[in-house]
Structures are given as structure tokens and as C-alpha cells.
Amino acid sequence: MTIKTITAVALLLSTSSAMAEESPINGTVQPKCSVYTETQGVYGHPLPDKLSTATADGGVSTTIRYDIAQADFYKAQITHPNSFSSSPTLNDAVAWTGSTVVGQVSVTEMSAYEAAKVISPSNVTTFDMTLAGSTWFTVSSTAIYGYNKSLPAGSYTAIIQADCIAK
């Protein structure tokens, strides 16, 4: 046999062995909800008796993102605080207010979530997540202490509850 023939046979054999390889890639698509804390809220202290996450009050509002993998399988329920989870001892009542609003959306039609939201009770806002994609919610919180009383010095923490519940 000539060198040319041997080379041709070797090339053919190597080609056929390479074609025998298969590497399947498997994946599963299923309904899924992911809750992201995009921005951690911070209370500003604009007045002696007030803590607020509003930018105008020197605070930072909380931003929470919900990623929904499949349309119409989940509802989002966000509860803004009505008590401190930790604080110095307080001897008077605290008046709480807050809100949850739709911010950015990945699908234009998600803007309708804002008009369709249900607030019940007063600090719980529920959104029906009828579309797949990402929705950013902005949560604000304000606490006013007593009647013209100064909040005692110390650290204050409140908890926002962000729930994603299968329908």
C-alpha cells in the first residue's frame, strides 16, 4: 500500500468515530417565582418623631423584583411594616403608613398591575401576576412616634414581607 492510501483510510476512520458522539442537553420548563431584594430600604430621620424611607426625607425605598417564569401561576403579596422588629424601648404609640407601587416592568402590559392591585388589610398589597417576566415593586414606609415626641436614640429595624403564592 502506498502512503496516500494509508492516510486516506486513517482519515476516514477518524471521521466516522467523531460522528458517533452525541451530547444531549436536557432542560425543564416549569412555573417558578423568584423574589429578589434589589434595594434594601433605609430609614431617614427628617424630624425628631419621624422615620421615613422617602428620598425627600433622606431615606431609601425598598425595591423588590419578582421574576415569573410562566404566566398566571402566582400572585405577589407585599406587606409593609406596622411595627419595628427591633428598636429601643418605646413608651408611646407609633403611627405607621406605607405603600407598594409597581415600578419598572419587563413587559409593557404589566403596568396594568398597578390599577388592578388589591389593598387589604391596609398594609398588605396583592398583585395578580398574570404575565411572565420581571416586575419591580417599590415599597415605602413611614413611622411617626407619639405626639410631637422625639424617638429615643438607637437602631430601628422593620421588616417588609414579600410573598409569592402559587394560585
Binding site: 416549569q30 412555573p31 417558578k32 417565582c33 423568584s34 423574589v35 429578589y36 431584594t37 434589589e38 434594601q40 430600604g41 433605609v42 430609614y43 431617614g44 430621620h45 422615620l51 424611607t53 425598598t62 423588590i64 423584583r65 421574576d67 401561576f73 402566582y74 411594616p81 422588629s85 427591633s86 419587563s106 413587559v107 409593557t108 417576566g133 420581571s134 415599597v139 414606609s141 437602631s155 430601628y156 429595624t157 422593620a158 421588616i159 417588609i160 414581607q161 414579600a162 410573598d163 409569592c164 403564592i165 402559587a166 394560585k167
Partner: protein, 124 residues
């Protein structure tokens, strides 16, 4: 336009801290223990600030249902998955509607509004 936005968001890598649980609709199978059903769940922790998640089972009107699991409070590392089983007695299966995991938030901090996340799967 939608495709472009999703593409740009994918490129940005969606920074943030996430809590995920699957499946959305768990199926209860018979377990190796007589008279007890089991649901197989998976939790994914992408919240760097959270290490522990509490498991709960609720009725349709959010009343607690008795259940058993290896650890009621799971320790899940950042960017880690955790598979866990929830065992419910046959007698309670009809009442059990939601299996939930809730992130456990540390109280500490300084003038913060912390976020506790809860994801609930529905038993159908």
C-alpha cells in the same frame, strides 16, 4: 422591543438577591412510612444576606398544618440548592394547601427596612 429588553436585562445579569422554590404545584406521593404522604421540594438561595429558611404548611385559610421534615429551619448557603421532603399524614392531606419557605432575617441593623421573602407552592 420586548425581546430587546429581555436581551439587555440578560446581559446585565439581573443583579440582586433571590429566593426560589420549586415545584409550584407539588405532588404528594406515598412515603416509606405508612399513612404518610411526601412532597419533594427544592429551594434555591441566591440571597447573600440570608442563610436560613423556615418551612411551613398551611390550609387554604392560612392555618398551620402538622408536618414533619428533617430540619424545619434549613441552612442553605449562598447560591446553593437544597432538596427537602415534607411529610404530611394522610389525615391532614385534604386540609394541607400550601407548602411555604420563609427567609429568616436577622434583627440587627441600623435604621433599615429589611425584606423577608416567602414563597408558597400549592398542593392541588
Amino acid at each position: 422591543m420586548k425581546v430587546c429588553l429581555i436581551f439587555v436585562l440578560c446581559l446585565l445579569g439581573f443583579p440582586g438577591n433571590a429566593h426560589e422554590m420549586t415545584p409550584a404545584y407539588p405532588v404528594l406521593d406515598s412515603s416509606y412510612i405508612g399513612g404518610v404522604a411526601v412532597a419533594k421540594m427544592k429551594l434555591f438561595n441566591r440571597r447573600e444576606d440570608i442563610k436560613y429558611y423556615q418551612i411551613d404548611v398551611f390550609t387554604e385559610d392560612w392555618k398551620p398544618v402538622s408536618f414533619a421534615t428533617t430540619d424545619r429551619v434549613l441552612k442553605v448557603g449562598y447560591n446553593k440548592n437544597k432538596l427537602f421532603n415534607v411529610y404530611i399524614r394522610f389525615a391532614d392531606v385534604k386540609r394541607a394547601r400550601y407548602i411555604c419557605t420563609t427567609s429568616k432575617v436577622f434583627k440587627g441593623g441600623n435604621q433599615e427596612a429589611l425584606v423577608s421573602s416567602m414563597i408558597c407552592s400549592k398542593i392541588k
